[in-house]
Amino acid sequence: MTVPMSEPERPTDPQWYKRAVFYEVLVRGFSDSNGDGTGDIKGLTSRLDYLQWLGIDCVWLLPIYQSPLRDGGYDISDYFTILPEFGDLGDFVELVDEAHKRGMRVVADLVMNHTSDQHPWFQASREDPSGPYGDYYVWADNDIGYRDARIIFVDTEKSNWSFDPVRGQYYWHRFFAHQPDLNFENPAVQEAMLAVLRFWLDLGIDGFRLDAVPYLFEEEGTNCENLPRTHEYLKRVRKEIDDLYPDRVLLAEANQWPADVVQYFADGDECHMAFHFPLMPRIFMSVRREQRYPISEILAQTPDIPDSCQWGIFLRNHDELTLEMVTDDERDYMWAEYAKDPRMKANIGIRRRLAPLLDNSRDQMELFTALLLSLPGSPVLYYGDEIGMGDNIWLGDRDGVRTPMQWTPDRNAGFSNCDPGRLYLPVIMDPLYGYQGLNVEAQMRTSTSLLHWTRRMIETRKRHPTFGTGTFSELGASNPSVLAFVREFGDDRVLCVNNLSRFPQPVELDLRRYEGVVPVEMLGGVHFPPIGELPYLLTLPGHGFYWFTLPARRDDG
């Protein structure tokens, strides 16, 4: 039996993820410690003080494993080795230890569904069908099985089956042809994957974001997604974690509608967290439409989840807005609307960072961040968005939003001391977002900077556990441009009022249930007029927002 290493520094709080602020880091793009032009784990470790200062609770790493990198590291060729340009296992253990010393956590992406075709398991499987790995992948004599499974990368893949000339059979792949799906029907594969998880958990990792989790099992006559046996296996993984590694988390990447994603929470015995994908585009839609319905609707459609579970929410991440969300489901017309808005299409469809998406409007960046930090779920920040970093649309594919973090106005933005030509991607140099003016150092020296503002907001959020654990209830508001809601957890009550319009707006809120309470604005501590029995009138500047605490009435005792 595996016994987890004892780690006295590790903060113990089994539900820490419900209150945590996450920060998504591209190891490659964050900090380069050895001057080779590529960020690495040691570099990240050296920046933990900054993340701690910012108020980050958990760092989320994109894949760090050995890989031929034909799909950004999601094509793993060795689960037990760190990609050499990022460092080695020693560096990783150091990162985790240093994070824990600062009360922070580290989670990383893990792909269970498939491997790279370079993985030794696949090489053995194709060469020796009757050997120990012969049944590790999904092989067939023809390409007619599982017809009802859709093809995800319709641009590049014609079929979910590809022929392997070595073995003389077809293999199954839900993603690219160079990413064969593992055969989870094979108990040996199930065991092997548990061994992978245990390996990293023993090194101290605080959890995994499980990539492509709906596709583990296949079954004829189904769409091969979210199958019961996939859930059974995830429950088994969860049990292993609960038994041996309490307070570590599983975060499901299931890019589906909330009503479908909740199956990954099961009865609180499967994944701890899952991303709420449709919320993000709807925040953009709401502000573009200057009305709250896109947000109100998706939250109204979001089912309740078990107490021990939490949504992960985000504004931007390393991916584009994926078209996996397209559905025939009539209930949801979001995409019809989305397609009707060419500006949205032009902006969100391609890969942009938050600041350029919002035309670098400080008001809007603040409004969006305030929504991210107050809507139900644990917020995930994307590296660089805290300083309003720009992107480079001239870089191909998803690289435009993966440029080096801008630390200082020095060479290579302080990211690396290599020759600029050696950088994995050029730093942003345009007049608006260029690193000479826009960088962490400059913003740390300016108390009114977006960075300081973001830090204050995170700090404010963390003073009120209700943002993480409280109930969410939207208030009926007389004005469709105003999104108002209350988060409530015991006597920790917070009222958030957001003006989604560029114009000043009044709103009358029905706050009868809080009659007699004196709202206190959270950033300045100003007492507002007490709530009476009549609608509560507030006025907001364009894209303005208020966060209030609603302390108990004096006579409430």
Binding site: M285, V287, R288, R289, E290, Q291, Y293, S296, E297, L299, A300, Q301, Y333, A336, E337, K340, D341, P342, R343, M344, E474, G476, A477, S478, N479, P480, S481, S501, R502, F503, D510, R512, R513, E515, G532, E533, L534, P535
Partner: protein
Amino acid sequence: MTNGHLEDLLRDWLPRQRWFAGKDRGAGSVRIVSRRELHDTEPVLLHLLVEVDQSTPVAPVPTLDSPSGSKFVTYQVLLGVRSELPAQLEHAVVGSVEGLGVVYEATHDHELMQRVLSWVHDDAEVEGIFFRREPGAELDVAAASLVLGGEQSNTSVVFGEQSIFKLFRIIVPGTNPDLEITRALTEAGNQHVAAVHGWIEADVDGTRSTLGLLQEFLRSGTDGWALALTSVRDLFAEGDLHAEEVGGDFAAESERLGMATADVHTAMAQTLATGTADKAVMADLASAMQTRLDAATASVPSLAAHAPAISAVFERLSRRGEPAALQRVHGDYHLGQVMRTDSGWVLLDFEGEPGAPIEARAALSSPLRDIAGMLRSFDYASHYLLADHAGPAQLEYRATEWAERNRDAFCVGYAKAAGRDPREDDLLLRAFELDKAVYEVVYEARNRPDWVRIPLGSIERLLAA
């Protein structure tokens, strides 16, 4: 307290109420025709039906549903009486009666409104007033009440976040179509109405008559007018972009509103009376429209230039041979009568014109009349923000573009759900729209002369199309 004292108080108080019809004329004689003490210990709850002499003609021109012409209007009033009034009820004071105490509007009193809700919950009968709970409706009798502002012809009280109680102010004998239609649609499982939770009725002139309606409260709803204006405002802020290019585009909402409207029309046709309009009925309709046009032209000279062309449309309608389907309709349909909720559009207020006799309000009509009402509303919404100042030509152009786009989307949505595009019956639809716009011209000329150009502009476009 004698009725005389109360009548004196009401004569001053009634004309100051929003729901009082014909504020410009004031109240002539005021007579309490029925007085019920629903609760006789402090705070006392009084239910009154008050007959008011409003003998000056009501409408500037005869409308499609011209009120009966009766000069007496019956209002429903709920009063509380306390010996001393708590501060939070001071704004609701009607007046003091010596020896009795202070009389105030009971809808503002939590205690009295909770009593009303409990009676509905218990299916009670109090002093000849029948409180009725819709079978299966669950009511939280402890919920706090709140009077909503903004209502024009009735008074609405919200209970908690669950129910809304509409106290009808003008009472005419019979079942209010709002109750009749909403109940029928609720029972048919229609998703586009607010479910009925209960109602209140009593015998008036020997006929069982609706006094109030308790419905599902659409907590997160916004009315369509406010939502449409949000979109227009966004468009105007982006003066260089077309209506279909701005983020605030409303066409998808309009299309869904068209679908919801068709859905409700279909359900009304399936559950309530239907009929057919033959040539004679059409001729009558056309002649009524022409009469209204003549009266309007006489009072607003700027309409004269268009009158012949409008008459030509009405004339074609009078010769129309093709029969038209008739059914129950909303009757006063526009963007202010629909609410956008988190799950879609909901249609409200099926009561028709308050004060008109029930038979007139329940009369069958073509559903195109509702559609024309909504199409007119899109026109109004698009120009509303420019109404008090002539906007730059660019914005006027954009406004028209917005209206066209959303009128079109509404019809497309309607066609999707109904299987038939309302524009197929172009003549009837246009006639309804022109009739409505003619009414608007007169209304604006009297009340907001700067605005006349909105309906006049629409008339020009309708005639040019």
